[in-house]
Structures are given as C-alpha cells and as structure tokens.
C-alpha cells in the first residue's frame, strides 16, 4: 500500500510490504454456497465426468491385462 504523508513540501510515498499492510476485505465464497448449475457449468462437469470415467476404465483395463486376465480368458 502506498500513502502520501501530509505536510510535506515534496511529494513522498510510503511503500509497505503486503505482509505488513492492513488486511483487505476479500471477496468471500462462504456466504454464496455451491455454484449454481447453469448450462455451461453442467456441461463442463459432465464432460469432466465422462473423461474421468473413460480414463479410469482404461486404467482398469491395463491393470487387468497386466494381471493376465484377458490371456487366461482366451485360453
């Protein structure tokens, strides 16, 4: 934060490090609760779910393949 001291002939500025400055009132999410499910939020989260499910299915397939399950079934 910078302040201009009074009663000075030449302008001067006091610069204070953020850690030592007076705390600001920030924007607070506490009072708002969960985000409203607008169409774009819903589609974005749906896309994310589909992506995660596909990736987890792929990982599961890989683990089963490494365990030799598919080889055992084909025999």
């Amino acid at each position: 934060m910078t302040t201009m001291p009074k009663n000075c002939e030449a302008p001067t500025f006091r610069v204070v490090h953020p850690l030592y400055d007076e705390p600001e009132e920030k924007l607070n999410p506490e009072a708002l609760g969960p985000m409203p499910m607008t169409r774009s939020v819903r589609y974005a989260l749906l896309a994310l779910r589909v992506y995660l499910i596909l990736m987890l299915a792929l990982a599961a397939y890989r683990v089963l393949e490494m365990a030799g399950l598919f080889g055992a079934l084909s025999h």
Partner: protein, 438 residues
C-alpha cells in the same frame, strides 16, 4: 538477526513501517519488488528434475527442432497462471478451498486426493533425481537423500514467509547458469532464432516418439500443482487488489525466464544430437558432456539437476500442504510458527520424509512411479483447469472486476481443449502403449 547488524534494503527484507520514496517511479519499482516472487517461483520450480530430463532429451533426440514449441507454450502457461493470480488476489483463498466451497465436497475431495497422490509421486521422482545426480559425484544415496530432505524441510520451518521466498527466489535465479551452458554448446544463433520462431519438424516427420515427446514437453511445462501452488502462495503473501498488475508482471517475467532456461536445457541436450550420442538418464548425459565442455559442464549440469529437484520438492510439497490444510480448515501460513500451524507443517514434513524414504528402499519401483506420475498428471490437469475456468466465470463470487472477459474465455477454452486432447493421448499412450499410429 542479520537485519539488526546490516541495514538491508526494504525490498529484500521489509519492515512493518515500510519505506518512504520520493518519486512515483520509485514507488512503483519498490512495490513491484515487494510483490515479486510467487510468479517466478511457480514457473521456475516447474523446471524440476523431470523437466531437465524431458528438455535435454528433446534436444538430444531432435536437436533444436522443438524450440518453437517452448515459445508457443509461453503465452499458454502465462494465461493459465494469470487466472490463478486473479482468483487468489480477489478471494485471498487457495484453489483447493475454492473448489471445495463452490463445487461441493465430492469434487473438492476428488481434487484434493488426486493432487496429493500425483504430488507425492512427483516428489519421489525429485529425490530419485537427487540420488542419481549426486551418485555420479560419488555421494551415496544414504547421505544425499536424507541431507537434502532435511534441508528442504528446514527451509519452511522458520515461521517466515519472506525467508522461504528469498531462499527460493535465489535458487530459481541459479538456474540462469543454464543460459551460460547453452553458450558453451556453441549453437548457431541464426539456427536457434529460426527454430524458435518457425514451427518445424525434424527429419522423419511426425513419428509416435515425437508426438509422445511433444506431449511430455507440454505436460512438463504446465503442471496441475502450479495452479494450487500459486493461488495459495498469493493468498499467503496477502497480495492486495492493487498488486494485481505487478503480480501479472511477476508471472510473465517468471514464465519468460522459465522458457529461456528450458530452451537452454534443450540446446545443451542438442550437443549430443549433433555428435550422434545417446544416453539412458540425465546423469549419464552429464558424463557424456565432458568431451564438449569439460568437467565444468558435467558437474554444473549435475548440480543444476539437484537444484531443480530441490525447487520442485519445496514447491510441490507446499502445494500439497496448503491445499490439505485449506480443505481441513487448519491454520496454513508460512508466516506462522510451527506451534500455530502444526497440521500444515506436518503434511509438508511427512510428504518430504516419506518420498525420501521410498527412494532409499533398495529396488524401489521407480519406473512404475514415473509412469504413474505421467498418467495421473494427464488425468489431473484437465480437471484442475476446468474448475479454474468455471471459477473465473463465477460473477456472483468475483464481480465484474475480476471475472473473465470474453476474450479470456476464448483463449482459455482453446487452451483447455488442446490440453484435454494432449493429456488424454498421453494417458492412453502410457496405459496402452502403441496408441499412436506408427
């Protein structure tokens, strides 16, 4: 203590009363120097041990042909981190806490678990790199790994955010030595400039190996932990609304420095490409460089690898401990002594100590861990960025001043789609192998 003997400048060691300056320019410069730090650290810490390996490998395999990719990643990494800065300054809260509060417990816990897991596995790879590099210098793993783990822990236990930040900024600036090593490689300036600005492919065109390496470079340059780290760091430093533009500048300078260092790593690696040499790991590469730059280059590269791992370790562990403590509602600040934030420091210490312990286990499955890191990072990055983008469009929370403009959204959705596709290809390639057409 030092301050009482020597009068340090206010921007190096600030005091509660601040400093009086006489010109508007002096005020802006001093304010910037006070704000400077999180942007450089988050960017340069991403040039960690894995990044050293990836960038030098890119140079050793393809010469200077992928330099353009780094220049392309500069605006992308800046735009992603700028959003984090805006969110952190506006709310004064970390990324994990924001996801938890705005998207509910399920997504909050998912993000936290995913972050902790991928961060921990990355930490193991950082300590593996320390063991590998110092092993080349004759230091046994039982000495090198515990010593560095202790040092990295002590960096944060002083109860002073500023002390940690100044040490870490110093370590980041040490990476400028890579630029000197790039000159030792004697690259042709015209060739470097041309490859940096004109996208081109090496001989053989777009092979599966090249696609995989391009994805690895992108994944190395933009990592999920960076989002969590910088937002928490900005909040811990208590940056003010009026600091936003200086914090953006810090982030931009950090991104530019990081890309320059990454380019220098690629140029160093290209020495081996020009001479038709190959290697198995970066420590072995350092040994091969003796013929071209003497022991200075060899030892320098090994020590810079250790520096990269230390930077990665402190930043990634902090991203984990800030995120965990925020979600748990614990006190979480580097400015607090251990007795006032025990849970926060405990997460940091446990993560570092456990990762170091795993590396010291004989025949630990390090290769499996490295593959796990790649897959999990691939899974994590799109989800973390989607939450970020949704939060930055949350006008109810941020108001018109901090919310994304439409041009922000066009850029960000493009970046997200590209990252989604690349992360998916990486994960599929690692999981199935041969997924890319050969």
């Amino acid at each position: 203590m030092l301050k009482s003997f020597i009068r340090l400048p206010e921007w190096i060691w600030p005091t509660e009363k601040g400093q009086v300056v006489r010109s508007p320019f002096g005020r802006r410069l001093l304010t910037f120097l006070m704000v400077f730090g999180p942007g450089l650290i988050v960017m340069e810490a991403d040039n960690d041990a894995g990044a050293v390996s990836t960038y030098t490998q890119a140079g050793a395999q393809y010469g200077l042909h992928l330099l353009w990719l780094l220049l392309l990643l500069l605006p992308i990494t800046y735009f992603v981190q700028e959003m984090v800065v805006r969110l952190g300054i506006a709310t004064g809260q970390g990324h994990a806490a924001m996801i938890y509060r705005r998207f509910g417990k399920w997504w909050g816990r998912f993000s936290l678990f995913d972050l902790q897991l991928v961060n921990f596995l990355t930490l193991v790879t950082e300590f593996a790199a320390i063991a590998l590099a110092l092993g080349q210098l004759g230091v046994p793993v039982y000495l090198s790994v515990p010593t560095f783990a202790f040092g990295v822990i002590m960096m944060v236990l002083t109860g002073s955010y500023l002390r940690w930040e100044r040490i870490t900024v110093g370590l980041c600036l040490l990476d400028a030595i890579w630029l000197g090593f790039a000159f030792i490689a004697h690259p042709r300036v015209g060739e470097v400039a041309l490859n940096a600005v004109v996208p081109n492919l090496p001989q053989g065109g777009m092979s599966p190996d090249l696609v995989f390496l391009i994805i690895a470079v992108v994944g190395t340059t933009i990592a999920p932990w960076q989002l969590f780290f910088q937002q928490s760091c900005v909040a811990d430093k208590r940056l003010r609304f009026s600091d936003l533009n200086f914090s953006r500048l810090d982030t931009f300078l950090g991104a530019t420095f990081t890309i320059l260092v990454a380019g220098a790593m690629m140029i160093v690696g290209s020495i081996l490409y020009r001479n038709g040499l190959s290697y198995d790991d970066p420590a072995q590469m350092a040994g091969a460089l003796v013929a071209f730059g003497g022991n200075t280059l060899k030892y320098g590269v090994l020590l810079l690898m250790v520096n990269a791992a230390v930077l990665g370790t402190t930043a990634i562990s902090l991203a984990s401990s800030w995120a965990y403590a925020e979600v748990m509602g614990w006190s979480h600040s580097l400015q607090k002594p251990v007795r006032e934030a025990p849970g926060f420091y405990a997460v940091y210490v446990i993560a570092v100590a456990a990762a170091a312990g795993i590396v010291m286990i004989p025949n630990a499955p390090l290769q499996l861990i490295i593959v796990g890191v790649q897959v999990l990072a691939g899974l994590m990055l799109p989800s973390a960025i989607i939450f970020l983008q949704l939060l930055l469009n949350d006008e109810a929370l941020l108001g018109k001043k901090f919310v994304n403009k439409s041009w922000n959204n066009w850029i960000n959705w493009t970046v997200i789609i590209v990252l989604f596709a690349l992360s998916a290809v990486l994960a599929v390639q690692v999981l199935i192998g041969n997924a890319l057409p050969g």
